[in-house]
Amino acid sequence: MLMLLGKKVGITQVYDEAGKLLPVTVIQAGPCVVTQVKTVENDGYNAVQLGFDDVKASRRKKPESGHADKARSVPKKFVREMRLPDDAEAEYKIGDSVDVSIFSEVEFVDVTGTSKGKGFAGPMKRHGFGGFPKTHGTKRKHRAPGSIASHASNAGHGAGPKKGKKMGGHMGCEKVTTKNHRLISVEQENNLLVVKGSVPGASSGYCVIRSSKRSS
C-alpha cells in the first residue's frame, strides 16, 4: 500500500480521451518527509511517520523541532503514520522525501478526510428519517423523530430509550473515507493528484491518499 498526505485544492472538470466530461477533485499531495521509521524491534510494529505542510518558524515548539531535526526537517502541521507489514523490508529512511511520483502506476485511490461540519442536525438530515406529512392535520412535528421508546419498552431493557437510538445531534466533522476514486492524472511539477469524484472535507482541508485494493 502506498500513502501520501495532502490538501484538497478544490473541484473542477476535465475531459477524458473519449470526450467525456469528468468531475474531478484536485489534491495537492506531498512532498512528504519521513520523520520517523518505526520497527518491530523498537516499537512492536513496522511503520513510517510522514509529515506534510511546514509549521511556520514563529509557531514551532522545541520538542517538535527536536523530533523533526532527526529527519533534518522542520515541524509539520499534518503528521500521519503509514503502517507497513511486520515482515516488510525497510523501504524508507528517516529524512526521505516522498512525492506524487509514487502514484504514477496506481489506478485507484482511497481518500480519507474530515467531513464538513453540519452542526446540530435533526434526525431527517442525520439519519435519513422520513418525517411527517406536511398536511392532513400534522401540527408542529413535521421533522420530528417520532416515538423514541415506550415506558416499559423491552428494546431499552426497561424504561428509557435503547442505547444507540438514532436521534438528532452533532453531525459531520468526522473522519470519512471514500474508496476507489479513479486516479485521472498525476502532475509532478505542481505536486497534484487529480481524482475522479468528490472527496470528504472542505477545500484546503487535509486528507490522506492511499492506493486502493481494487485493481481495475
Partner: protein, 122 residues
C-alpha cells in the same frame, strides 16, 4: 494559489484556438457523434442565442427551426466532440441572450445583418 492550481489542471482540457463568434451569429457547428463503433461528423446550423459559463464549463446555445419546430442545442465550447465552429453570417443584436427569439415564429426570427467588421464575414 487555489485557483492557480485548479487552472493548471483545467488548462490541459481547454482548447487553444477557438474561432471568434458573437451572439446572433449564424454558425455551423461540426460535432462528432458515435453510432455504435463508427464515428462521424454532423453539422448543426443555427443562430447563437446565448453563451454562458467560463473556463472548462463554458457553453453556447444554438437555435434553429426544423420543420416549423424550434430546436436548441447546447454545446460545451471545449468539448473534444465539438470539432469546430464556423460563423457564416453575423446578426445585429442589442442583447447578450436572445431568448426572445423563442417566442417568435416565421419571418420575425430573422436578425438583421450586421455591417460592422466581424470575423464571420471574412
Amino acid at each position: 494559489m487555489k485557483t492557480r492550481l485548479l487552472d493548471a489542471v483545467e488548462k490541459k482540457s481547454l482548447k487553444k484556438n477557438i474561432t471568434h463568434f458573437e451572439i446572433g451569429d449564424t454558425v455551423n457547428v461540426r460535432y462528432r457523434i458515435k453510432e455504435g463503433e463508427k464515428e462521424r461528423i454532423q453539422i448543426f446550423t443555427g443562430t447563437v442565442i446565448a453563451r454562458r459559463g467560463r473556463g472548462i464549463s463554458e457553453t453556447f446555445t444554438v437555435r434553429r427551426i426544423v420543420a416549423g419546430e424550434g430546436v436548441e442545442r447546447i454545446f460545451p465550447i471545449h468539448s473534444p466532440n465539438v470539432v469546430d465552429i464556423k460563423p457564416v453570417q453575423s446578426g445585429k443584436t442589442r442583447r447578450a441572450k436572445l431568448y426572445y427569439l423563442r417566442k417568435r415564429v416565421g419571418k420575425a426570427v430573422r436578425l438583421s445583418q450586421r455591417h460592422s467588421e466581424h470575423t464571420a464575414l471574412k
